[in-house]
Point group: C2
């Protein structure tokens, strides 16, 4: 491999390449950056010199003059909840969703030569540190993963003027901010239609937290769809998108409405918690109670029986977030188009 020739003592610079190729630094720079106004013969000899020297551009020097960082920040915004002992680990990082998003982002960013910076914000101090870091142009754009409804970060980021895209519809749509989301209501409708199509008549739902857009939308969508199917009065119990919350919500549901024969649970993780509660109460799934989840996360496969669930194409959505950002970098000051993806129903054993 020719790159081995690059001595670690003094890295190869543009100047070195220029000398080897017998041209000026500027010409090498043109070749590296793909300028069209270069004589093909010179281009070839420059390319050979680059290969021979194992040259790789120095990012720092480049960003110093271009004022671009060639990197975007993945900001994970957590509610402040530092553990009493041991290092802090947010909910987001342990959520399988997170990894899928990272994968989808890198899939677009890597070919574009853009680095992904991982940043965490979980209290006022870290937030203001984050914002001042971002203001100084250390990154070209921001992908924000926010886990809670009353997050000031979308607002703060908008004010920095940095291209920003949110994962999921923001709570307060005050500031015009781009987001990528799945059509939550359509997903809930898929669940409703499937349960009704199965002949279930006493259908309830375990919703997500109603202060989160995803929680609201899935409930609204489900109720609307059920009403359209002739079932205007759907019982809903609020959960919190966690496994424990799912178990607790299912207990409440069964206590108040023991006769249900179908339930739409607004996240797979909640379903994972809710299923054992059903068994303990002597219900079989899907024979006695049909269950439809939401997300098609790994939790859906961990359930027994495996969960019929509404799939959101997380990886594609993440790729779209990256793409959206990249396009905005190209044309500064563009408007902020959002993207909404279509969910699909994945049929497994639970309904």
């Amino acid at each position: 491999m020719t790159a081995d020739e690059a001595p670690r003592t003094r890295p190869v610079t543009l100047e070195d390449v220029a000398q080897v190729a017998g041209v000026s630094r500027a010409t090498v720079s043109r070749v590296i950056n793909g300028a069209q106004t270069v004589d093909p013969a010179l281009r070839t000899s420059v390319e050979q010199a680059v290969a021979a020297t194992g040259y790789v551009p120095n990012r720092a020097a480049r960003s110093l003059v271009t004022r671009r960082a060639d990197s975007i920040a993945l900001v994970v915004s957590e509610r402040e909840q530092r553990a009493v002992s041991g290092p802090f680990v947010g909910r987001m990082f342990t959520d399988p969703h997170f990894g899928r998003i990272v994968g989808g982002l890198l899939d677009v960013l890597r070919p574009a030569g853009i680095q992904l910076l991982l940043m965490l914000a979980d209290d006022d101090a870290s937030r203001s540190q984050l914002v001042s870091f971002l203001r100084q142009g250390h990154v070209d754009g921001v992908v924000l993963l926010s886990s809670h409804a009353d997050d000031p970060l979308p607002e703060l980021l908008t004010r920095t003027g940095l291209p920003t895209v949110l994962a999921g519809r923001p709570t307060r749509s005050a500031a015009p901010i781009a987001y990528v989301d799945v059509d939550q209501q359509a997903g809930a409708r898929l669940a409703a239609e499937h349960l009704v199509g199965l002949g279930r008549r006493r259908i309830a739902t375990l919703s997500g937290p109603l202060d989160m857009p995803a929680g609201q939308d899935r409930l609204t969508g489900f109720r609307t769809a059920m009403a359209a199917l002739g079932e205007p009065d759907v019982v809903a119990v609020e959960g919190d998108f966690t496994q424990a919350g799912g178990a607790e919500a299912m207990k409440r549901l069964l206590a108040e409405h023991p006769a249900i024969d179908g339930v739409f649970i607004a996240s797979d993780l909640m379903a994972l918690g809710a299923l054992p509660v059903l068994y303990r109460e002597g219900r079989r799934v899907p024979e006695d109670v049909a269950v439809v989840g939401f997300d098609d996360s790994s939790a859906a496969l961990a359930c027994d029986p495996q969960l019929t669930t509404v799939r959101q194409p997380v990886e594609e959505m993440a790729a779209e977030m990256a793409g959206l950002l990249l396009r905005r970098l190209g044309e500064a000051g563009r408007s902020t188009p959002s993207a909404v993806f279509h969910p699909t129903l994945v049929l497994r054993q639970s309904a």
Copy 2:
């Protein structure tokens, strides 16, 4: 917030601060970098000027001259296995482990003002691109998460001379490379002692892949401990650390040894797959078969009943990786001490 005064049109530079404070650029630089040879009065006025202007140093300019990047790379090395359709998402990213590691790393890196770059390597092309990127000094150190045994990356990274630390003992310990790991054998011993202490006598194990250090060590440790407890002939069936692999391994185990009353499953994820197989074969857990897992991952809680499992302190281990790297940055050319953490047994319902 004073930082609001920083105009996005032209960021505040050292020069600006110097002018406001009535000193030279060099003096401001000294204050920023905490040099001791500054008159207290000047220091104060510089600090005020920094606050007033909302100055934040330009990283690119700084790295250009210091030749430090103030960032470390988190390299995720995956076996090449691009999906036939849709974006690629590696196993590592969807593993809850990954998020815990990120959390632990950030916990140390953030206070030190060091950024975390996320990089992915999954084939020869991306590997050589990665290595040449790293060679050029774009990062100060590397944390490597490798998911497979025959990974050439540890070797490649060592040759770059960059401070590197591995998550988990490397397969080939040819090159002296630092790593952070849990004492796998001690963990397996905890499982063995617990199962035997429960009075179980027909104990088997579902091991991890035997071409991976973690797989080997857990099996060796379990067998050694069982032998010491008077049970030299432990049946072992090899799994692959996945949920599906766990189910498959358990089927084979039951087919060949239906009389078992205790089993050590070398990862929680495999246990998650194995438990339903036990139920389908009419065994109760823990009454008929006691089950001990390994990892104390979220999968342990997802199991029904919840899993008694060997806990490895992932977050602390990640923090140690970051700390180890930071220390090596300070004193270049240091030796490479590794760190091995002690596992503990977490008692839940499955054993």
